[in-house]
């Protein structure tokens, strides 16, 4: 299936979880200061391992930058 990750199309196996998306980005999931939204809704960290991403979903993976 194809999933949009931070605006870039990514190929993932069907039924992949949010954690699988973080793996694709080579991110350490325990790293602090990361938030994930799927189709605009926040996915709490505790649910990343189980939350299934569906075909065509828009996944946003965010972290802290300087600002304000």
């Amino acid at each position: 299936m194809t999933v949009s990750v931070n605006g870039e199309p990514r190929e993932l196996p069907a039924g992949a979880s949010v954690s699988a998306v973080l793996d694709v980005l080579d991110l350490e999931p325990r790293r602090r200061g990361i938030a994930v939204a799927v189709d605009g809704e926040v996915i709490p960290r505790a649910e990343w391992g189980a939350f299934p991403v569906t075909d065509g979903a828009r996944v946003e993976v965010l972290n802290a930058i300087q600002g304000g």
């Binding site: 931070n6 605006g7 980005l25 080579d26 991110l27 602090r32 200061g33 990361i34 938030a35 994930v36 939204a37 605009g40 926040v42 709490p44 960290r45 946003e60 993976v61 965010l62 972290n63 802290a64 930058i65 300087q66 600002g67 304000g68």
Partner: protein
């Protein structure tokens, strides 16, 4: 005068300003909130944080860049400061609320600096959307610190919906124009039942002094420090300015007068002029 000479590096001025700043039950000894935007190096940011004495610093939330060097969060953790996430870049209440929820998840804090922008060139707040977002976030249990216009009525409305502070602008973000409308700021301070934090517009130390003299409880400064030629020195300058302004406010300035009021008594003046030389003679 008596007492030992005071060195320029003397300890911070003891707070004649009574109680520490209190926001949503949390005490902050520093009345300077530092914005992290605009620092070109994380090392400079870390040094500026230390010199500023700030306990609370803002951050934004953006798409992760796996190639980015250095971790902002690690720097902030190392500095021992708390993070105040913002909703910068949001133009609607809906986007701001979603960003706030993401920030709560990312940083494990209920505190949010709420920005809802209405115009990309002036970055001025969008009042109706701001109020809508503030109400929603308060309902969701956030401690809301809204960046707002220098509008006393809007400030009151934000307080009414449960914001923890109000943060009126002095002038547009990053403009360095200082406090464009001191009269409005004074009205906001006079009627506010929550702390007033001047947010945006400060260009240099004197602007921060004025904000505190007008009765603000704190100032939030980013660009004036981060984009100055020497951010670490400017951080120290603004820190001292905030302290100076708070002390002046607590001490109570003299009223402005049209005419002079002699500080030396006239009584006891000697008669020194010779006869015939007096201008009235």
């Amino acid at each position: 005068m008596s007492g030992p000479p005071v060195s320029a590096e003397a300890a911070p001025v003891p707070a004649a300003t009574a109680a520490p700043l209190r926001i949503a039950g949390r005490e902050l000894a520093s009345r300077l909130i530092l914005g992290t935007g605009g620092f070109t190096r994380l090392e400079t940011l870390a040094a500026a944080i230390e010199v500023s004495g700030a306990e609370l610093v803002t951050v934004a939330l953006r798409r992760i860049d796996p190639a980015a060097r250095g971790s902002l969060i690690d720097v902030l953790d190392g500095a021992g400061v708390d993070v105040l996430p913002n909703t910068a870049g949001c133009f609607t209440a809906r986007d701001a609320v979603r960003t706030a929820r993401l920030a709560r998840e990312a940083f494990a804090t209920d505190w949010i600096k709420l920005e809802v922008i209405g115009d990309e060139h002036t970055l001025l707040p969008d009042a109706p959307e701001l109020l809508l977002a503030a109400e929603e976030l308060v309902d969701e249990g956030f401690v809301v610190l809204p960046y707002t216009n220098d509008d006393p009525v809007l400030a009151r409305r934000l307080e009414d919906v449960g914001c923890a502070v109000v943060m009126p602008l002095g002038s547009p973000i990053g403009s360095g124009q200082g406090i464009a409308n001191p009269g409005n700021l004074q009205l906001i301070v006079e009627h506010a039942g929550v702390p007033v934090v001047l947010d945006a517009g400060i260009g240099t130390a004197s602007d921060a002094v004025l904000a505190m003299e007008l009765g603000c409880d704190a100032v939030l400064v980013a660009s004036a420090i981060s984009r100055s030629a020497d951010p670490v020195t400017m951080a120290r300058s603004i820190r001292l300015a905030v302290e100076a302004g708070a002390l002046a406010r607590a001490a109570g300035r003299i009223p402005r007068r049209t005419y002079a009021r002699a500080s030396t008594p006239r009584e006891g003046m000697p008669e020194l002029a010779g006869s015939g030389s007096h201008p009235d003679a």
